[in-house]
């Protein structure tokens, strides 16, 4: 009871005298970062996911080769979800003598549940507007009109029924991933399908049941359905939607969580320094309390209570900052995304409390345990302090705390341990580098004179403290470098993946005879000379001696891929945006029959390196061995192929050509001319998809900037903690030097040298760390190849020298001004 009262009073005094200010700020910052990032990641992820939802035209969908039973729809509705149905199948339409292969999609009246279906009444209006699709009419993509030579409003024969094609489809949310799909889309209402007589028991139709609603309800329905899912049916949630958007989403969220982890790590480093200093400053008091008969429990209790108070205050403060930040965020996010944001919950406040407890527990416990064994004889001999304490505890407790944090945040033991290993390796390298640099200073001490000599000597005198400070400053500078230079580099590299000239139009069905003329057409009009690649249609019949049976694949996607005709191509060299992951690309001009397969489809269809593939190309057998597996960056919007063969194998086959190019918006008028000159060529506008991918990259980038701002704050806190860590030692040294007659000016010069050199070391270490981090993030997280910007090294070193020099001088300026007697008397 009295301990409680004493602890409370002491805590108030700590707060008043700023003893625990830094510790409080560090823990609060960690808590604020965690709560804000929780809100942020949650909201951004949801907002991004909702954009992906647009691409499903729903929050999730069930896909099956048979009509989903009505009970499923009833169940979905009973869970408060809204539903819609679609069915799609290839068919042939007629107009006069002309026939055209189309991809029919028949939808229910509620379609789409997410995203927009835009259409226009004329072929000239490229934007269109949202309008309901009524029974008794069909809509179609622009090229259907071009290929049939009809205008909107003309009736065409669809099976046994005549329907007018009234509007031009401009944006269809769930158009599907294959941009090279040859058949244009024909959209109509499901009610009109029976009259066409097109769908019979043997038809190859893909049915979808679309659902939308609250995220938990959608997920619960997915789980309910999973137990009843028949063979071949597939549950599609946003994570399965468009691969190019999913890649952008994954990169964005991974980057966010890396940034968030960094904030807590930095705040933890600051807390480690501050907690150590705080507890060490309690040693004198502990010795006196010991003499007065306090037990070790009382000692630990008194300091522990105060730390507990700090944890509580930090959790409240951090939680408040987090709530405030998320309110500001709602503003920002609201502007970025068209999505409705979920209301804030109290859960992040719990996270804030857990974070501060973890941070303070892990950092303060080891020195607290040491404090317990303060020898009371310290009151007689000042040099006596607590025994060094077990290194196992000193290192183990913070590490265990860190591990607990990672496991908690990542929700996965293995991932947490791996993240911890990464952090440890980084810290170890930083510490070793710092210690090495400090050692290198040794010989310099005897060179030079005056302020230089004393400043360097002060650093060399405490090599471990200097190393710790170097790592502390280094982490702070690292955060700054990452926030400024590296962020700009990375974002530039990322956005460079979708540069302004990214192709937004595909041309397919180019006849061999037209190829040269078309290349000339594009070049003459300043549209560049994009690669025009051969495309050969073929059906996959055998994999490694086994006949391909689409029905034998479990997933609808694999079934679809296996039954569809492949677009094959041939080339001597892989495309620049392809990367061979396994095997080797063939030597140019090779005569052997070989294939290179995209990794994703190889996995889906069960194709392995060395397998012999057989395609049926226009009735002829074409066989070759898989000698490489390629990763394809689909988001480059270049023409790419799942399967590429050697020219020797495929160049003799009947081919058409495809290409993609960028058409600036103001030159859309070229398209009619192109269609006139090359009537057989089909133009596909992918501008809308490209726009979506680009918007997502921009949003993730801005989200990242926001989280990195916390990293900046954490970096500053680490710098402050590192300065403070040496303040007590400094104070005594300065006081002694002043009594020995050192002038203020010479002291300032000495301190300036000392902190500048410290900053130089830290900046060098930080720049190296930033280079490594940037490399890791771009290669492993973003999948970009990183070009190291070596300007980081001089920038870090000089910036560190100036920054730490100024910060250090500001921090110790009071020590130089205070009369030395005050310091000496307090000691």
């Amino acid at each position: 009871m009295t301990i409680l009262r004493l602890g409370w009073r002491w805590l108030l005094r700590d707060l008043r005298h700023g003893e625990i200010g830094l510790l409080l700020v560090a823990a609060a910052l960690a808590a604020a970062a965690v709560t804000t990032v929780d809100f942020f990641a949650d909201r951004v992820e949801r907002a991004l996911a909702s954009q992906v939802s647009n691409l499903l035209a729903a929050d999730a969908a069930l896909e099956w080769s048979e009509p989903p039973p009505a009970e499923w729809e009833v169940e979905a509705k009973s869970r408060g979800l809204v539903t819609a149905r679609t069915m799609s199948f290839p068919s042939v339409v007629l107009h006069g003598d002309a026939t055209l292969l189309v991809q029919v999609k028949a939808v229910s009246g509620d379609y789409p549940l997410r995203g927009r279906l835009r259409s226009s009444a004329t072929l000239d209006d490229a934007t269109g507007a949202t309008a309901p699709l009524a029974p008794g009419a069909a809509w179609a993509e622009p090229r259907l009109f071009a290929q049939l030579g009809i205008a909107p409003g003309t009736a065409i024969a669809i099976g046994e029924r005549e329907l007018p094609v009234t509007r031009v489809v401009r944006e269809e949310p769930d158009r599907g991933g294959d941009l090279l799909q040859v058949a244009p889309r024909l959209l109509l209402r499901a009610e009109d399908i029976p009259a066409t007589g097109l769908v019979g028991p043997a038809s190859r139709v893909s049915y979808r049941l679309l659902v939308a609603g609250d995220e938990p309800a959608v997920r619960a329905f997915g789980a309910w359905l999973a137990k009843r899912l028949p063979k071949g049916a597939e549950w599609l949630d946003p994570s399965r939607a468009r691969p190019e958007l999913q890649t952008a989403l994954d990169r964005g969220t991974r980057l966010l969580s890396v940034a968030a982890g960094t904030v807590v790590l930095l705040a933890g480093a600051a807390a480690l320094l501050a907690a150590r200093r705080f507890v060490e400053r309690q040693v004198d008091a502990a010795a006196v309390l010991r003499c007065l008969g306090a037990s070790s429990r009382t000692l630990v209790g008194l300091v522990g209570l105060r730390l507990g108070g700090v944890a509580l205050a930090a959790a409240l403060l951090g939680g408040l900052v987090g709530v405030g930040a998320q309110a500001a965020l709602a503003e920002l996010v609201g502007r970025w995304f068209a999505a409705e944001l979920p209301p804030p919950s109290a859960a992040p406040l719990f996270d804030a409390a857990l974070t501060t407890l973890l941070v303070l527990g892990a950092t303060a416990l080891p020195p607290l345990l040491r404090l317990r064994s303060t020898p009371p004889a310290r009151v007689l001999r000042r040099e006596l302090g607590p025994p060094p304490g077990s290194a196992l505890i000193a290192a183990g407790v913070p590490l265990a705390g860190l591990a607990a944090f990672f496991v908690w945040r990542m929700g996965d033991l293995a991932l947490g341990v791996r993240a911890l290993a990464g952090v440890l390796a980084t810290l170890l390298v930083l510490s070793l580098a710092a210690y090495g640099l400090v050692r290198l200073l040794g010989p310099l001490r005897s060179r030079g004179r005056g302020a230089w000599r004393q400043g360097v000597a002060a650093l060399v005198r405490h090599p471990v403290l200097t190393s710790v400070q170097t790592v502390g400053f280094g982490l702070g500078i690292l955060a700054l470098l990452l926030l400024t230079v590296v962020r700009v580099d990375l974002l530039a590299a990322w956005q460079a993946k979708l540069p302004p000239g990214t192709p937004n139009h595909f041309l397919i069905n180019i006849q061999p005879a037209e190829r040269q003329a078309l290349e000339g057409f594009l070049a003459d009009r300043g549209l560049g000379s994009p690669a025009v690649l051969p495309m050969i249609r073929g059906r996959l019949t055998e994999i490694a001696g086994r006949a391909v049976d689409p029905a034998s694949y479990p997933s609808a996607r694999a079934q679809r891929l296996a039954s569809r005709e492949f677009n094959l191509s041939h080339a001597d060299a892989p495309q620049s945006d392809n990367r061979v992951l396994a095997g080797r690309w063939w030597a140019p001009g090779t005569a052997t029959p070989e294939f290179s397969v995209e990794t994703g489809i190889a996995e889906t269809l069960g194709i392995a390196l060395g397998d012999r593939l057989v395609f049926d190309v226009g009735g002829r057998r074409v066989a070759g061995t898989v000698t490489s597996l390629r990763e394809v960056h689909w988001d480059s919007f270049n023409v790419n192929f799942f399967v590429v063969g050697t020219p020797a194998l495929l160049s003799g086959q009947p081919a058409t050509y495809v290409t993609s190019f960028h058409l600036p918006a103001e030159r859309l008028d070229l398209l009619p001319e192109l269609s006139r000159r090359f009537p057989s060529v089909t133009v596909i506008d992918v501008g809308a998809v490209l726009g979506q991918v680009r918007a997502m990259a921009d949003q993730a980038a801005r989200a990242l900037e926001y989280v990195l701002a916390f990293t900046l704050a954490a970096g500053v806190i680490v710098l402050l903690a590192a300065v403070q860590a040496s303040r007590d030692v400094r104070a005594r040294e300065i006081a002694v030097l002043r009594t020995l007659g050192a002038s203020r000016r010479s002291l300032y010069a000495m301190l300036a040298v000392e902190y500048a050199v410290l900053g130089l070391l830290a900046g060098t270490v930080a720049a190296a760390g930033a280079l490594g981090t940037a490399w890791l993030i771009s290669e492993a997280v973003l999948g970009l190849s990183y070009v190291p910007s070596l300007r980081l090294l001089p920038l870090g070193a000089l910036g560190g020298a100036v920054g730490v020099g100024v910060a250090g001088l500001l921090a110790v300026r009071r020590l130089v001004r205070v009369p030395p007697i005050a310091v000496l008397r307090a000691a």
């Binding site: 009871m1 009295t2 009262r5 004493l6 009073r9 002491w10 005094r13 700590d14 005298h17 003893e19 004198d284 008091a285 010795a287 006196v288 309390l289 010991r290 003499c291 007065l292 008969g293 306090a294 037990s295 070790s296 429990r297 009382t298 064994s373 020898p375 009371p376 004889a377 009151v379 007689l380 001999r381 000042r382 005050a822 008397r825 307090a826």
Partner: protein, 228 residues
Amino acid sequence: MTPHSTTVVRAAGLGKRLRGPEGELRILEGLDLEVMPGDAVSIRGASGSGKSTLLGLLAGLDEASDGEVFLFGHALSPLDEDERAALRAGQVGFVFQSFHLLAGMSALENVMLPLELGGVGDARERASALLERVGLMPRRHHLPSQLSGGEQQRVAIARAFATAPRVLFADEPTGNLDTVTGGRIADVLLELRAETGAALVLVTHDQQLADRCDRRLVLEDGRLGELG
């Protein structure tokens, strides 16, 4: 009851060895001492003769290499750090050469500290009375850094007597002060001791101060010798 239970502090064959850079250092060797209730004992000795070391051993702040110390009749060597602290609580007072007030606490709070640790209810009143007694009531809310050396030592004395201890250990209580101030501090210390009847073990090399005690001992070559 053992015959020694009446002693406040007793040392028997006490020895302290330390490992120094040039082999073992024998600071105390075969030292005997008995302090009875109410005794005022002064121990003088040259600098480095081991006075502070002896005081630390007698108060249970440190562990002996040989022999035994009995505090209030309890042998100290079997006790651990916490048990020794419990034995001291409220029964032992200290005054040190470098005052050892808690820097963050006011004069009053420093005096209240041992009372609060002992769970005494009217700590504030008793501490105030003691500060009044040493003449520092007007400065009670000042921090140690805002007090002169003599004032700090008076606060330390008030704190030492706060729990009405049975024995007071003082290590050079006037060592950091000028002669006049030191003399006044010695007056306060000895008066309070007389009023409370606490035993006093005082270590100093100040002949005048040592002479104000009933029993005067000298520490030489690790042993105590009695002076008339």
